[in-house]
């Protein structure tokens, strides 16, 4: 008997909460149709739009800050160049899917399956690199140059993507930030392929991946602050 009483008591609405519920219910339909529709549309549009501008901004940074390699047109037909491009495209594709899911509550952001193609591709490149190019790159400063350039090319994209995710409802701010960094980093890597003179598959697999990981870490740190609501 007493037990039943406590059970009912715990289900009683707290007057404070009851008050809140009434005030929230007063706003039913209160996201005015025009404004609500616009906001919903703009949230749906914000993500693909920011992804598109991210690609443009990454290429713009590489083109104007570093400049494309002179023999780019001849190189474009070699498998080493295409390896870089394809690896970054696979990574960006998987990350893009995860970024979209991160902005919508209840969708999976488990990275394993989405990133599997890119991971396998990079691992194969690392293990069976037939180019014979050194792991440390073509010049003494190749590693810091490449890593820094990719991070730099990724930063505008990262900020754009974070701003777009913020319009949604990210329920894991750190993870969503990291995924935004992953996407921005792979777009930065993609853009950097037009400037990078290091063509070894193993070089790309290690140092491009490191640069992308750095951008993902930056994204996680910023996301923790910027994406909470």
């Amino acid at each position: 008997m007493t037990q039943m009483k406590t059970a009912t008591a715990s289900n009683l609405i707290n007057p404070n909460t009851e008050d809140l519920i009434r005030r929230l219910a007063d706003e039913a339909g209160g996201a005015p149709i025009a404004q609500g529709l616009f906001e919903r549309l703009s949230f749906r549009l914000a993500l693909p739009l920011s992804m598109f501008i991210s690609v443009v901004s990454a290429f713009a940074v590489v083109t104007f800050v570093i400049g494309p390699r002179p023999e780019l047109i001849d190189m474009a037909l070699t498998w080493t160049f295409q390896f870089k491009v394809l690896a970054m495209l696979l990574l960006a594709g998987g990350a893009g899917l995860l970024v979209r899911n991160a902005a919508i509550p209840g969708l999976s952001t488990a990275p394993v399956r989405a990133l599997l193609p890119a991971t396998l591709f990079l691992l194969v490149g690392l293990a069976f690199d037939p180019s014979g190019f050194p792991l440390t790159g073509a010049r003494t400063m190749s590693i810091p140059n490449c890593v820094l350039a990719i991070v730099l090319a990724s930063l505008p994209a990262l900020l754009l993507l974070l701003a777009a995710i913020r319009r949604g409802a990210p329920t894991r701010p750190v993870g969503a930030g990291a995924l935004a960094g992953l996407l921005a980093g792979s777009l930065g890597g993609l853009a950097y392929t037009i400037a990078c003179i290091n063509d070894g598959a193993a070089f790309v697999a290690i140092w491009y991946t490191l640069a992308v990981a750095i951008v993902a870490a930056i994204g996680a740190v910023i996301g923790n602050r910027l994406l909470s609501w």
């Binding site: 609405i13 707290n14 909460t17 519920i21 007063d26 509550p105 209840g106």
Partner: protein
Amino acid sequence: MNTREQSWAEAMCAERRGERPVYEIFLREFAVSLRRIVAARLSRLHLSAAETEDVVQEVLIAVHSKRDQWDPSRPLMPWLNAITRYKMIDAARRLRRDIKLRIELTDDEWSDLSGSSGTDPVHNAADLERMISVLPAGQQSVVRAIGLDGATPREAASRLGMSEGAVRVAFHRSLKTLMAAAHKRFEG
């Protein structure tokens, strides 16, 4: 379970058509189930169950402020669960930080919080300012906008460049802090 998904999803759609009663029933039912989940989680995390109602209200405000983003072609329950989980983690982190902060207050800060001045605190504007000044900067501006200038949460949100949900939560938290401080002063 399935019927709840259906009836709550219908209520969310009804809200968009401005059907207040249906939405209110949904909020109430959701609050009841939230209260159970949140209380269980808090006790498992060894946090005070007294905070349950706060967390429940925060989840309600969060769901309300993002309600237009739910896509009716997707199931509602996972959407609600993800938001609940997020606000729960957020609250747990804040509660732990509050506990730490309370322990780390210096003697001066303690006497600031509980010290009594001769005048009646509620009717003294300077004193009111002083009480507000113990709040974090963000909460101070929210309290000034809503409490002193009489703005609505939406007006305050656009004025301060915050989301409406954030304003509601900040205002709610500051009121709690201020009430606790005022309580101490009357007793002390």
